[in-house]
Every structure is written in structure tokens, then in C-alpha cells.
């Protein structure tokens, strides 16, 4: 008898343990994220997008906003085409996100790829980054208009990252809108090389972001204006006028957006939005954003989609005007 009782209690315990593991295991599994998140960077290590991605990850490491780790994966190549193709191949993966540059829009257009921004799940528009007009501190131009007037008389040597990408778009837009002579545009490999070119007087002007060119101001360089709606909020930049103020009606920004593969679950989308809502509230991010003069955005869902449609259309028009698209 005793043996049977022993056996049955053993059985009972086993059943209970199994049931609880099953039940609670189920509960734990339902929560997002279930496993580490892959963070795709559509550029190489050390570039601007890479810096943002690793910065965001370091905030999560420090403040533990989600329980799982975020793993950065660089997929450079083809001006972002390789990264985009990879993310598209991960349909329904709830643990993947990608940080983008504007080449997210321009590369599919220019390279004529079989996909575009609509193929992805838009998650979060973290911020819009700036394009100031930088010259060397010894340059003769005191105002942006002086620069433009000079550019109407000769082809000025300018630099930027890559070709047929953001920086060149800005220069070609200035050309078209202000009727200057064509700029001699030198493509560099990354923002660091561009900064070096201006500091070393290899080129006469650049449109690097504050986060990349800022360290050299005021020792080596100075900004003449910034091509956006409102003035820069960063300390030391309050007196830099916008393009509109000085008669150069150009507004252009760099999209620091987060996208996921197609077919993500609603829960994962919500999880990502929550995560980024928390990330941009941290002191570490706020300090970085204010020093870099970022316009923190925070648009998601339908609003983000609307922004993308407008932004893409603007790119198509600029690229057509420059003769890059038929």
C-alpha cells in the first residue's frame, strides 16, 4: 500500500512540475522578445549609421530596456542594397530591425531594384539629422549667400559621402535651385574622410552632419547655414541661420529610421515602438541628440508611412532634375 501511495505522490509531483513548466513556460514564451534581436546596419563599421546603432544598443546594455540582447550586424555593400535584400528575405521575423539612411529610398530608385521602402515594416522614425553647409574657418565667405554668389562664377570643389547619395543630392539641389555652376563633387568613403578633407583643405565645402563635423568647429571649420526648417538647437549653433532665412530655400534631412522585415506580428511592432519610446527618453540619448543638433521625431505607423511617401516623392523629383532617373 505504502509503495503505491509513494508512487502516486511521485506521479502527482511529476505531473504538477510538468504542468507548471508547460503553463509558465507558455506565459514566458508569449512575451516579446523571445530571443536576441538582430540589428541590421546598412553600412560598414565606423560610419554614421553604425555609430547610431551601437549608441542605441549601449543604452539598452546600460538601462536594460528589454531583457534580450540587441546584436549589431553590418551589411555594407551596394549602397544598402545588400542589407535590404537580406531583411526582405527574413519575412515574418519578429526579432530583426534595420537602421537606415536616405539610401534606403535612393538606392532602390537609382539601382532599379525589385523592391522599395514599401516592402518593409516601418517601425520608428528616431530622428531627422541635419545638413549644415561647412567651410574651412580660413575661407573667404562670411555668409552662405557669398558662397552661392562665388559658386555662380566658378565650379567650387566640394566633398561628401558616396556618390548619388545624400550629400551629392544636397549639392545638386543647390545647383538646380540657385543656378550655380556645377560643383566639382568628390565622393569619399565615409563621413570621417569627408571631415578630414575639409579640415585639410582638400575640398572647399561639405555638408556633413553636426555629429560628424561638429568636433572641428570652431578650431578648423565653421557652418554658414543649415538646410532645414528650424535653426539647430545644439549649443554653439544658435546663430547659424537656416537656408530659408538667407535666401536659399532648401530643406533636406537625413532619416534615422528603424524598419523591420515584412510580415511582422502586431505584438512585435508594438514591442519595438515601446522600446524606442523608452530609448529616446533616456538621458544618454537626450545628451547625444542635443549635442548633435538632432530633431528627435518619434513618428510611427500611419504618420511614418505618410512621411515616407512624401520624402520618397521629393527624392524622385530631385533625382529626376539631376538627370539620375529617367
Amino acid at each position: 500500500m505504502k509503495k503505491i501511495r509513494q508512487r502516486s505522490s511521485f506521479l502527482l509531483i511529476t505531473v504538477l512540475v510538468c504542468a507548471s513548466v508547460f503553463l509558465f513556460g507558455e506565459v514566458a514564451e508569449a512575451a516579446w522578445p523571445e530571443r536576441p534581436i538582430e540589428f541590421i546596419i546598412m553600412a560598414g563599421t565606423g560610419g554614421g549609421a553604425d555609430r547610431y546603432a551601437r549608441f542605441l544598443i549601449s543604452i539598452n546594455t546600460k538601462d536594460k530596456l528589454i531583457d534580450e540582447a540587441i546584436l549589431p550586424v553590418n551589411k555594407a555593400g551596394g549602397a544598402g542594397a545588400v542589407a535590404m535584400q537580406y531583411v526582405l528575405s527574413q519575412k515574418g521575423n519578429n526579432h530583426m530591425m534595420m537602421i537606415t539612411l536616405n539610401s534606403f529610398l535612393t538606392t532602390p530608385l537609382f539601382q532599379n531594384l525589385p523592391f522599395n521602402y514599401k516592402s518593409f515594416t516601418p517601425l520608428y522614425l528616431v530622428a531627422l539629422d541635419n545638413f549644415p553647409l561647412w567651410v574651412h574657418k580660413d575661407a573667404k565667405w562670411k555668409t552662405a549667400m557669398e558662397f552661392i554668389e562665388d559658386a555662380k562664377t566658378r565650379s567650387i570643389l566640394v566633398g561628401g559621402t558616396g556618390s548619388k547619395q545624400e550629400d551629392e543630392i544636397v549639392w545638386r539641389t543647390i545647383e538646380a535651385k540657385m543656378g550655380t555652376k556645377p560643383f566639382k563633387y568628390v565622393p569619399y568613403k565615409g563621413g570621417g574622410d569627408v571631415a578630414k578633407a575639409l579640415v585639410g583643405k582638400e575640398v572647399e565645402a561639405t555638408v556633413n552632419q553636426v555629429s560628424e563635423a561638429g568636433p572641428f568647429y570652431p578650431e578648423f571649420t565653421r557652418p554658414l547655414c543649415v538646410f532645414q526648417e528650424k535653426r539647430l538647437t545644439a549649443e554653439g549653433y544658435e546663430n547659424v541661420p537656416t537656408g530659408n532665412e538667407v535666401g536659399i530655400p532648401i530643406e533636406y534631412t537625413m532619416m534615422r529610421g528603424i524598419f523591420g522585415p515584412p510580415g511582422m506580428s502586431d505584438e512585435a511592432v508594438k514591442g519595438f515602438i515601446d522600446l524606442f519610446d523608452k530609448l529616446v527618453q533616456t538621458q544618454m540619448w537626450k545628451d547625444f541628440a542635443s549635442k548633435s543638433g538632432l530633431m528627435t521625431d518619434g513618428r510611427t505607423g500611419a504618420e511614418f508611412n505618410k512621411f515616407l511617401d512624401t520624402f520618397n516623392q521629393a527624392h524622385i523629383e530631385t533625382m529626376k532634375a539631376a538627370g539620375w532617373l529617367k
Binding site: 546594455t61 551589411k75 556618390s163 548619388k164 547619395q165 568628390v186
Partner: protein, 507 residues
Amino acid sequence: METLANLMVGFGVAIQPFAMLMMTLGLLLGLLVGVLPGLGGTAGVALLLPLTVLVPKEVAVIFLAAIYWGALFGGVITSVLFAIPGEPWSVALIFDGYPMAKKGKAGVALAAAFLSSFVGIFVAAIFFVAFALPLAMLALKFHAPEMFCIMLLAFSTFVGLGTGDASKTLVSTAFGLILTMVGLDIVTGAPRLTFGSIAWLSGYHFVPVTIGLFGIGEIMIDGEERFTTEIKEIIHAKLGWQDIKEAFQATKKHFGLTGLSAVLGFFVGILPGTGATPASFLGYGIAKQYSKNPERYGEGAIEGILAPQAAANSAGTGALLPMVTLGIPGSPTAAVLLSGLYMWGLWPGPRLFLEEPVFVWGLIASLFLAGAVCLIICLAGTPMLAAIMRVPWGMLTPIIVVACFVGSYVMRNIMFDVWCTLIFGGIGYVMKKLKYPLAPLAVALVLGEMAERFLRQSLIMSDGSLAIFVTRPLSGTFLAIAVCLFLFPVYQLIRAKKQAGGEEAEA
């Protein structure tokens, strides 16, 4: 005097037990990522970067820099033992390191590589302390035309690299140059030679290609030899300290060459956009050019290890100089460290030196300490590493092959690179059988991309006129040296013919 006082402050930071502990940990991690082909110092630093928010920034930067130093040392191990480049800058180590290992002198080759690594780091550290700011300003004067002429200079030292048939060397170089053309055109942004494939847009990276050419190709040749002839299973790698003693003596004997390569490497390294890889090739090329018996190179000359490795490590260290002094990343690794500054709440740039002396000088002081500690770790491990050569071939090879493929994948996380390694393994095998030299191909693949970029940037600046290379004093000088080096083999050839002709006439 002020510099010395600052350096003392720096040592005060770097010698703290916690900093030393993190440094040693960093070095060990760096050695590990250095050994794994494909997973380089840049990737290692980038991988651990977000974690460093958890320690004080002075320690964080020492830890990350230590990973980088470790990788600079560790990259040579697989190059010497298996002809697989652990790091891009250790490709040049294959040329003579691997033949030495095959002759049973793996221990000597490794120890020599470690010793010259140390010399490189040490020389660079002294330059760093003494002339950081003036050198950074000098580096700014090197624009695209100067950089192009330096690339030409590097090419010119390799003219005589393929011992044997000159036309085969030319074919090999041209093949390398064609490979660098694949991908996006840097000026127009249009795809080149990609045949409509998105994967090809990435272009051929030289790490997967060299892993295939040298590593897989060598394994196939080895396997064939073993199949046709009965080979003694073990290369007699002696265990013990004899090897290290021999390496010490060799380094002492060629100390001038090693030191000079280190100085040269440092100057190449501080030029933004170059890094350690061209420096190592330049070091190798020049050592060979000035050798009294260059025919020994490629067959296991110890100078062929000392010179490129000293240059590479010195350049790798030098690449940090523009980053620390001005905030300009001189190499991919420096760019990643720069991202770290933002994380630690610092703002890079010319003010960093003044506003954060403890941070900057702690890093500089750690150069000396890391170099010494890493040398000790490596030398202590050398007999063990050399003993790997005693593992039976049939057991070792599968592991190497797996490492090759994993390594080529992790470099850029694309499958295309894995196929590259496989296919170039075959190409390497065929080229070796037909006696085409592989080294010029590797050099062309590395330098070709940079040379093209600098050339085309220069031509945009000059509206297409080639005169820009001659009219600028610095680039003109480099160009003249490069042309002389190109013509040197021709001159030798003519002289040799004349002598031969003279002898005939006498007879």
C-alpha cells in the same frame, strides 16, 4: 617636460590593477579574434563596444585598444602556420612565414613576428608621445594626389615580387585589378561588372579571396602531394625555447631593418584612409628591394617576416593618432573607437587632448604596457602554437577548412564571400600549378581599390588633368621615387644583358 608629466599621469591610470586586468583581458580577446580568420580587430572592438558603458571611460578605451593590439599580434599566427590570413594586414606574413613553417621553423617565424610586432608598437608609441600634434597636422597635407602616388610607390616596390616569369606576374596583377572593379563605381554610383546580381554589388573583398587563394589552395596542393608521394607525417617542430632565442638573434641582427620598417609603417598609418595593410606590403616590398639577396624572399627569409609585421603594427598604432589628436578616424578600427567616445559622453576633436588629458594619456601609456604584456603572452605561447604543426594533417585540415569558411562569412556576413573562398581556392590551386605568383594578385586586390579611389578623386579636383600629380611638390616627389622603383628592374635587366653580352664578346 609637460609631455613627460602627462605621460606619467597616463601611466598612473593605465597601471591601476583594474585597468591592467581589463587590458590583459582585452589582449587575450584580441589574440583570439586575431587568430580567427575574417573576424578582425575592427569587428572585435565593434562587438564589445556597447558593453563598455559599464566601466569607467578611461578603462573602457584601454580595454578596446587592447583588443586591437591583441588582433595586431594574433593575426600572424594562422598566416604563418596555415597560410591563412587571420587579419588583412597579415597577408604579407604568408609570403615568407608559411615557407618557414613548412621547413619546420614555425616557432622561429612566430617568435620573430611577435618580436617585430613589439618593435612596431614601441616605435609608434614613442612617435605618438613625442610628435602627436605636428604629425597629425602633417597628415592633413596629404590629399588625394599624394595618396595616389603613395599607392604607386607601394605597387612599385612589388614589381620584382614574382620571382620568375615577368609576364605571369603581370597577368596575376591584372587579374587582381579587374577583381577590384566589381561593385559600385565610386564616382558614378553605377554597378560595374555585377551582371545584375545584388550580391555582386558588394564587390570582391580581399579577405575571403586571399583565404581561398592561399589557405584552401595550399591545402589542395598539400593533399595532392600526400596522395601521390608518401610524406613524413610530421614537420619536426621542436618544442622549446631554442626557437625564441633564434628569433631574438635574428631580430637583433636585422634590427635596423625592423626599426626602419616600423618608422615607415607609422608614417603610412597616420595618413587617414590607409591603415595597416598597405603599410605591411610596403614594408615587405622595400625590405626585398634593398636586400642583398632578394631571391631568398618567398622561400622563408626571416626579414620577410620582421619588416612587414613591424610596419603593420606601427601603422595600426599610428592610425589612432589622427583620431586622438583631431578626431579624424585613420582606419576602420579608429572609426569604431571614435563611436565609443560618444558613448562615454566624450566629444572627439582637437579639444579632447586639452579637456580630457587623463583619458588620452591613459590610452597612450597603455600602448607601452599593452605591447610588453602582449609580447610576453605571445612568446610564452609560441612553443605551444608551434606544436600545432605536429597534429596529424588528416585531423588538422578539416578544422582549418571549417575555420576558413566561417571566417570568410563573418567578415561581411554575406554568403557571397563563402562562395568566393571556395572558388578562389580552386583558382589558387590552378595558379600555383601553372606557376603564377599569388602575391601580386593579393597586393593588387588591396591596393587597387584605394589607388582607383585616390586617382579618380584627384582627377575630379584637376578637371581630368594628370598634371596634378607632378605640379604638387609632395606628390611629385613620391611619383618620381615610384617611377625610379618601377624602372629599377628594367635597368637591372639591361645591365645583366650587357654583362652577358660582354662576356660573350670576350669569349
